[in-house]
Amino acid sequence: MTRSILIYANCQGEELQRTCRYVQSLAGFTFKWVPLHLVTARDWETAYGPDFMADVVAVWEQAETGPVSENRTELHSRIPSGSQVLRFPPLSALCLWPFSGGDPRLAADPMRYPWTDSVAAVLATEDLPDDALFERYMHMTTERMPDLNRRLRLDVTRWTAADAIADIKAADWVTQNLTTVRLFHTSGHLTAAPIRFLLRQLLPRTEAIGPKLAAIGVQEAERLLRHHQGQDFECVPIHPLVAERMQLRFFDPDARHRWHGHEWTFRQYILHYIRWADYLD
């Protein structure tokens, strides 16, 4: 009989699933992903019924602070008895993108630039050449830069709160590495480093896999992710002033950042964003 490990998580769970599918030593397991941010009541009846759950031997459940959602209750009611449940925290960093507020263009066109920049949004109707527009953006963002230490404290509070209800703890690791290693491409999309970190925690603790196989699996996953860029299809560049104030040692002001089929500098990204410019996949 097949044995499955069910991952109930946001898109970070998909990264775990995709990585594990390529780990040859774990070929005896099927890794299934239920996207907690997308699943609907109908999905529970159609896609995730008894057949889907029958071979689940372990669940990697992404914890969520706050009240238990209907979907999570549904999940819990379907996990086969005896299956191990390992809770791990969601990883996110809001402090690195302090202008991620409202943008009225998102209502009509939510997918073009889904990671908002409210200062850039304010400039959307300005009719200026590139240099002047970018200078204006830099001036306004410098003027309006919020207290980043406070933002970081809020993030740490969230990480700690998620740790408190999870079996895997990540707050200390994220705090220690946030300024030295690029961990996030957007506030919620991960580079390969946190994916490696999560797998190093999850695999050895999964009883159905066992310690010996888990150790081999961790090594394989490390190799697979050596050159991997993580969830990099949309990378939002970090503002140079944020990098300076937060003392981000990994920051390279000339770096190019992937945006679908493009690689843009911070300046190019901001100008495309302000102009809501189309791009290619």
Binding site: R18, T19, R21, Y22, Q24, G66, P67, P98, F99, S100, G101, G102, D103, P104, R105, L106, A107, A108, S118, V119, A121, V122, L123, A124, T125, R144, P146, R151, R223, L224, L225, R226, H227, H228, Q229, G230, D232, F233, R256, R258, W259, H260, G261, H262, E263, W264, T265, Q268, H272, R275, A277, D278, Y279, L280, D281
Partner: protein
Amino acid sequence: MQAAYVFGNVGNLTDRLGSGWSVEDEYAWTIGAESEIRLPLPGDDAAYAVRFTIHPLIYPDLRPTQRLTVLTAGEALADVVLTGRCVVEVPLPPALTRGRPDIALTLLHPDGIRPCDARPVGDSRLLSLCFHAASLVRLDQAAADSAPQAGPVQAIVAGHYTALQLARILQRLPALRDRLAVSYVDLDQTLQDPATLRAVEQAGICWILAGVGRDDVRADLRARLPASCSVVTVPTPQCNALWPFQAPDPRLIRDPLLYPQGRYPYGDRVAAGMAQFNITDDVVMMIYDSLVEKEMPDLDAALQADIDAWRAQDAVCDIQIAARLAEQFRAERWFVAPNVPGAALLRALAVRLLESPALRPLLGPQPVLPDLDRLLEGYVGRREELPIHPRVARHFRLGWWRDDMTYRWHNNRYGFRDYVIDYIRWTPWRP
């Protein structure tokens, strides 16, 4: 959109909010039962509406909806019930906006609830609606946006990956928006999709890429095109000189689940010959380099063979590109893999497509090339760049190549050395 407004401390409305607000960094909550806002206006004679992006505070068990009434000078402009995040459009009375610098709005929101009364949290503010952003739109413009447009000319770009990218480029050029409807036809797939068939049968312009796809599909496509359709054949140049060791590798097997094109689809005969070498990376690389040096073919002859092939394809196509490729071979990164065009080649082909006589009447007076350049800025493609051996790059004195250059390989990024070592060892990688 005439103006963009953003709520919150980092936005541009904070000094326009009166009583009844709790402003946070990225948004503003209405508190109590009534809130005041003085919305800036352009001060001209146009008629406007404001569109607010609002998220209501909902507790399904306690407060499933939130009501909102928008007033100005005692007149109700909008009266809505919100059940989730939405956009609320409020038409502004022209009599109160014409020539005015702003308009005072009163928001009534009688269904506030204190979060601490609904959940175990410490927030005792009486909250109802979270305002994120707003836009000011001209009503005549909004009407124009929704008015039916004259039907655009249907265009087809047929081929494979290059055709798909060219179709996407044409679809995204502002100068052609609403004037040209562009569909891609995959010449490797039998024509059967109803929407594609409809597009083919209505096509006014069809660009067919030469040398790719199935002959039967190409013939079927041509047979279905209307007699009035302008058909233009386009070359699809490829390049082998930059990757002179290409050869089949016996290890290459398609794995539909993990590697549909095979683990390393571009063979390297020198690397393949070292598959059994079980030695350290440094030694592997040293041996690979010495073998490459010994076995390096005549690169100038390889380039000449490519140029000859480009010219041969040009000779049977309506569009010509070979001379440009040959002239600028060192300066432009025409190819990112033997059969994958770089941004420069896509741009050159797109420019040729835009010069098609059948397209000229559709192009307005404004220049198209600045839009094309902005669209292609920083474009590298999404999937694969095949690393180039440094000896090859140096031989051709490629202007865009650097010693420390890294290449995208699906979602990975490799330097040449790491790629070759992984290739020799046939190392699994994760897309």
